[in-house]
Every structure is written in C-alpha cells, then in structure tokens.
Symmetry: C2
C-alpha cells in the first residue's frame, strides 16, 4: 500500500517535472533543421568549383568588365586534360563532403548539354560538341563519395544581355519579350539540371534567383518537384542556408543557426544589410527559421587577391595553410559550413599547388581533430570529463545534437588543473560545432556548464584534443 502510494507519488513528481520542463523550455517551438540542413552542417567542409569561359582567355578576370562584355570566342574553352576525378580527389583530400560546380556563371555559358540554352557545351569544338562537364562532375562525385551540388548563375549573362537578373532594358516590348524568354530559359535550364543528374545535395542560385514577384524566373517549384531533399539557396521565398555575410571563409561569433526570415537576404529587407551584414554573420537566436550560415572564400584569396577563377600567375595568392586553418576555426568552429572556392585551370585540372594546399588542409584538420583524448555525450546542463592522469590539451570540441534544434544559449568550460578549477572557455552558441582553441594546459578533468538553454541541452559531442604541431 505504502509502496503503491510511493509509486503514485513518484509518478506525480515525474509528471510535475515534465510540466515544469515544458514551462521552462518549451515556451515556443524550437526551429528544427530539415534532413538536408543536417547533412549540410555535417559536411562541414565543401568546395565550390568555379569554371567559366574566361579561365581560358589568358587574362586577369575583371568582374565588372566581364559582366558587361561577352566573351569574344567561346571556343577558347578547350580543357584538353580535363579530369573531374582529379578535382574531386582534391576536394576529398581536404575533407570536403560536398562539391558544388558553377554550371553557369556570369558569361551565361553552360557547362552541359543543354537543349534550351544554345550557349552551352553543344556549341563547342571541344569534345566535338558532346561534352557535359556537369555529368562528368557528378559521376566523379559519386565515384569518390562526395555529394554533388550545382551553382546556377542567372543574375548575370553577358552573352544574352542580362544585368542583375534583367534583360538590358530600354522598356521596349522587345526587351519585355526577351525578359520573358530569359526567365523561361532559366526555368528550363533549372528543369534540365534538377532532373538529369540524380539526387543533388544543393543548388545555389547566386545573388538569389529573383522570382516572378520581381520580374524573374519561377525556379523554386521546379527545384522542389525534382529535388525534394535539396539544400536550396536561394530566392525571396526560401533559403535553406544563408550567406555568412562575407567572403572571408568565416562568420562572427556567435553565429546562430536560426534566422528571422525564411529567405537569406533580399534588397527589400534592409535590416539584413545593417552593420556590414551583421544579421547574416550572426543569425538570431530568436529566429523562427532554421538557416545555418555558410562561410565562403576562394582558395586564391591571399595577399591582395580574391579570385574564384583560375588566372595566370595567381599561385602566390593561394591561401597559406595557417589562413585555411583560421577559416576552419572561423567557420566550422562557429556552427557554419566552410565553402572553399577552387578552380580548375585551362588544362582542366586543379593546379598542383592548389591540390597540395588542399591536401595539407585536410591533413592538418585530421591531425588536430581525428584523435580525441576523450569524449562524452549526453543530455543535461552538466557534463564532466575525468582523466586518470593529467592530460595536456589545447582544443575542445562541442557539438549539440542539432536534429533537436539549437538549444544552448550560454555555457562555460572549466578545467581542473593542479591549481584547481579554472575557466578556460565560454560562449553562447554551440550548434553543430563549437571549437575552443587555447594555450596548452594540463588538466585532470573538464566541466561543461550550460548556464542557459531553451530546452534540455543534448550534447552530441564533448571531446578534447592535444593537437601537436605548429598551431
């Protein structure tokens, strides 16, 4: 009787606790990532492979000029040593999980066998007009276990005469008809690209694919029809990831995975542009939409250059390993996905110096983070790692199980040293990953204290490292 009363009491207490938990945490719905967003954040490192006609012109790329100047002779496109396997091996060597190819960039030239855009590989002498680099690229990705994504630039088209989405416009009926035709062309290319190459990890409409509401193409329904699980980036209706507000390969800290709008950015929403894109760089912990930030940067961005495309004589501008590691900490270590821009040369290969740097980058990440001294995971606000003996450490990695949303709002990490417990790191956002890097210190225990959260914290990983080498 007493036992059953006790059991009854236990149940009451348990239910009360559940109610209290609900009151404490579940005051509103936590934005949850979709499956594609989880995969995107799990990837951590991705590559954007930029390739276009002007790679072959032997001249320095001048974006402002190239945007308004059609390529004189598209048959300069002749990558005689084309080897997309080599591209993808380079991506894999740096630990990349997703590779994205610029199917069209600002010339308007399309790297595949389009039946709607004559300005495509069908027009080339190269491979007797039968080449399809999208197909080659996707096949290489599948071969090496890399997820393929496609970048479709429709905002600029120097050949067709499109500037900032709009057909160069004198307000004539002619211009209006060509705008309609161009919009249809973009939709039809999207249809081809979304339907021909199997499942894609992401599609990137650079600059945002202006929709019909802005006089542009209506591409979203086409993407959704053929690729229900794709990362869609982006238009004024939808963005599954957001631009991280710079092309530095880094975001600010904190960088929340949530955002107050369903779209990444739009000229109609001025607050996104305030303070040098602060909202993009940091997100909004109160945001209703799950939309993690990406951190994009070109590999050839060092020392006064910032080039997404191969150009002669730019080898000295390949980012040093240290810069790439800075990007890694500033992106992956801040709940953001790194997109490193790489570019095949006019031979059709990622240049050897770039390949070497990418491999070094992957090796360095592996060296620092592949062997945890210890790791735990679990629910709750307190997590403690204890060591049998003192350990020299210099990195801690935290991961939330973001499948259940980003819950942590404030935390700190204490280390038990020979001088007792001391604070070694603190922060607000953890999200997919938070990396603390600090001067090597000897510890016998570590404590993660989550001091504020919007629901019960679920720590997927709390791991500790002693990365040797020159940090």
């Amino acid at each position: 009787m007493l036992n059953s009363q006790n059991r009854f009491c236990s149940k009451i207490v348990f239910l009360l606790l559940l109610v209290l938990t609900d009151m404490l945490y579940a005051q509103k719905n936590i934005p949850l990532p979709k499956k594609n967003q989880l995969a995107w954040q799990d990837a951590e490192i991705t590559a954007l492979i930029s390739y276009d006609l002007h790679v072959f012109d032997g001249k320095k790329y001048n974006q402002a000029l190239n945007r308004i100047t059609p390529i004189a002779d598209y048959n300069i496109f002749n990558p005689t040593k084309l080897d997309t396997d080599q591209w993808i091996r380079a991506v894999k060597s740096m630990g990349g999980k997703i590779a994205i190819l610029t199917v069209t960039h600002e010339t308007g030239f399309a790297l595949y066998q389009s039946d709607v855009n004559p300005y495509s590989m069908k027009a080339l002498k190269f491979q007797n007009g039968k080449g399809d680099i999208v197909q080659d690229f996707v096949a290489s990705c599948r071969k090496y276990g890399i997820l393929p994504g496609l970048y479709i630039g429709i905002r600029w088209n120097s050949n067709y005469g499109v500037y900032d989405f709009m057909v160069n416009n004198d307000n004539s009926p002619f211009a209006k008809n060509r705008q309609q035709h161009y919009n249809k062309l973009c939709e039809q290319m999207t249809e081809e690209l979304m339907s021909r190459y199997g499942e894609l990890a992401m599609v990137w409409f650079d600059g945002g694919a202006h929709g019909p509401e802005l006089g542009g193409a209506d591409i979203l329904p086409i993407v959704e029809k053929h690729q229900p699980n794709i990362i869609f980036y982006h238009n004024t209706q939808r963005a599954d990831i957001r631009w991280g507000g710079s092309e530095s390969g880094k975001v600010n800290y904190p960088c929340w995975g949530t955002y107050p709008f369903p779209y990444s950015h739009s000229t109609n929403t001025k607050e996104i542009f305030k303070n040098d894109f602060q909202l993009l760089k940091e997100g909004d912990p109160e945001g209703e939409y799950y939309m993690p930030a990406m951190s994009d940067a070109p590999l050839r961005g060092h020392n006064g250059r910032h080039e997404w495309f191969w150009e002669p004589g730019d080898e000295e501008h390949i980012e040093p390993l240290e810069s790439l590691m800075d990007m890694y900490y500033g992106s992956v270590g801040r709940n953001s996905t790194l997109i490193l821009g790489i570019t095949p040369n006019a031979d059709g290969l990622i240049p050897e110096p770039d390949v070497i740097r990418m491999k070094e980058f992957g090796a360095e990440i592996a060296k620092r983070f592949s062997s945890a001294i210890a790791r735990i995971s679990g629910k709750g606000s307190k997590h403690e790692l204890k060591f049998k003996s003192y350990q020299k450490i210099n990195h801690i990695v935290l991961m939330e199980d973001i499948a259940n949303g980003e819950r942590v709002r404030d935390f700190n990490i204490e280390a038990k040293t020979k001088n007792g417990w001391q604070l070694i790191s603190k922060g607000s956002s953890i999200g997919h990953k938070f990396i603390a890097k600090f001067q090597e210190i000897e510890v016998s225990a570590l404590r993660l204290n989550i001091t504020k959260s919007i629901a019960e914290p679920i720590i997927k990983d709390f791991s500790v490292y002693n990365a040797s080498g020159n940090l």
Copy 2:
C-alpha cells in the same frame, strides 16, 4: 603612186570615222557590268529559299511580333524529311539558275555548323546537332548545276536582342559592348560562310549590312577576300544589284541597269525613296554605276497574302501561273532578274502544290520562248528580220550585249504586214532583255530601229516567237 595615195586616203577616212564615232558615242565612259553581274542577269530566274525556326511553330508568321519575340523552343526545328535535292530540283524545274538560302533570318538562328554563333544547328537535337543545311543546300546546287547564293540576315535577331542592326539599347556600356560583340559575330559568321562552301554566286545582306560608319559590322572586306567574284548585296559601300523597289516580282519600264550611287539604298539618301522608290524601280540611264534591278516576290503572295515562309493553310495563296508569267514579263522582260521566294515546309520539303506551280512556270516559259521563229544579232542601229512566208507572231525578244554596257536609249520595232509597215512596239531600255508581247499578227519582215544610243548598239538577240496556249 596613185595606189599608195588611195591607200593613204582610205586610212585617213578610217581614222576620221573612228574619231567621229568617239565624238558621237564615247562622250563618257559607259558603265560596264562585272562578270558576276553578267552571270546574274544571264540567270534571269532565281529562287530565294526562306527557312527559319518559326516555320515549325504551326502558327501564322507575324513579322512585327516575331522580330521582338525569341522563339520559345528552337528544338521545334525538326525537318524529318529534309531533302535539299528536292528543293533544288524544284528551282531547276522553273528554269532557275541561282538559288539563295536564308542562312539566318530574323530569329538569328543559323542553318549551319557555326563556331561563332551558338544559336545554330549545333544546338539542335535534329541530326544529333551535326546538321548543316547550308552544306546540304550547296551540295544539291552543285549536283544539279544551280549556282548557290546565301542570304545572311543580320539586321534583326530576336534571340540576341538586335533590332534594326542595333543591340537593344539603353546606352549603357553593356549595350555598347554587346553591340561590338554582335558586330564581330556577324563578321565571323560572314567569314565562315564565305570561306567554307566554295564559290558562291551571291550574298544577300538583307536590309543592307550597316557598316562601321553606322555602328555595324564590317563585312565587305571579308566577302571580298573570300569571294572576289560574288554578287554582293549590299551595304552603304557597295551593291552589285539593286532592289527593284517592291516585292511584286516586277519593276517599272524602263528599268535601266545603271544607277547614280554605288549602293542600292541607304536611309542617308532620301532621293532613292522618293515616289515610292522610283529610282530603284527604274534606275538612271545617266547613272555611273552598273547595278541591275532585281524583282523579288514570294510564290505564296496571291490573294491577300505575301509570305516568304511556309505557314499552315497557305496553299490557296500560291500565285497562279498567269501571275508568275506576269512577273516574268515584268522582270526578265524589263532587264531585271526575278527572285521567286519559295519555302520548305516543316517536313523539310517544298510543298507539292508549290513544286507543281514552279514546274508549270518553267514549262510555260520554255513553251513560249524556247523555239524562235527566227533570230539575228549584230551591231548597228538597224536590224531586219525577213521571212520567206508570212508568220504569225506574238512575242519579240531583244537583248543587248550588255558586256559592253547598256547602249540603247530609244528604239522601235516595225512589222511588215499585208497592209505595209506598221509600228508594233517601241521603248527606251533594252539592256539584258526586252520582251514585247502583243496580239498575234501576220508579218513577213520585222525591223528594229534604234533611234538613240550612247554608243554603237550591239544586239545580241533579236528573236521572234509565236507562243501558243493561253496567254
């Protein structure tokens, strides 16, 4: 001694006669046709074969709308029964000597394997993107002994956004760069077309290829480099023939082979446009430039239509034989070359009703003019044909030997009937050919009296016919 004096006197008289002849006739240089112009006028009957994407859209062509509306899907171009031999046999059956193909018309689509214009047959699914109708056409011409010519439309390009030679223009640097690119494209296409297909009889830049002086492409040096003997039509620098001032298949009478400008027409020369193109229709006997008129008309121009392109349901608008014969008299019979517009259908064949009419046309011309009752030729102002018995006649054909220029300025023809000599025809211009058609009369002799000429007349043919049948 006397003999040698006589011989000396004879020489003096002869030299004096030469001087007098010079004084009478050779007060100025007579414009002489070039070899290509002679061949053009000798051809008498030619065909313009018009073929473009909109033939396949199943809709009535609306030139004003089509000019400003890109074709929605160029892969509608799919002439599954394409047979250029059949086209050329039809041209030959009507007595045509030259066939001209529209390589590009107003869509901008090019009917060959261009390496500079992606909007060409390389873009098509048809023939796996390897089709080249220019090549097929030229091969068929050579097979049947027809001289090939090419029509290159660069004035309009609905796809690239060109209107009246100019890239649709908002005066931006973008538009200026695209204009430059378009001009270069036109030059490069001209280079391809002039250099790839052997010797061509003529090239037709419709509307006049605006040259650099008007902001357009500089195509003339390219044509002259590759095709020194071609009929060039036309730009503001040069025209070897001139438009006859209408699309009726006829010119006015007289229609002189000479013209006061080296170009056919230009918006800068308003006097050419006066009186409904009177100067184009009639030429100028004082003109310093040899430039005979062409008389163009579409075969499908009857009864309220005037269509150069195949369209559904236009069979009833095929010109009746009588209209075609009227054109023949109004063009060939007036020192002009007839250009009849024919068009393959969406199957790739000249439709059977058109083929039949073309054959009837050729047969009717042959019936009327292949068997002369008598003919003479020779120099001088008086030419007489005498018959052993009375002959019923209803046509007389006169031809000058225009290799030596158009010399006759006034003439009449008298017939000796049972009632004595009577005037049956008179005129001013003869040129390549003058045809007199009249009610049948019985004659025993004919006299051609050239009453005015600028040099000694050289009559290449003075022939007489009794064409049976329904005239």
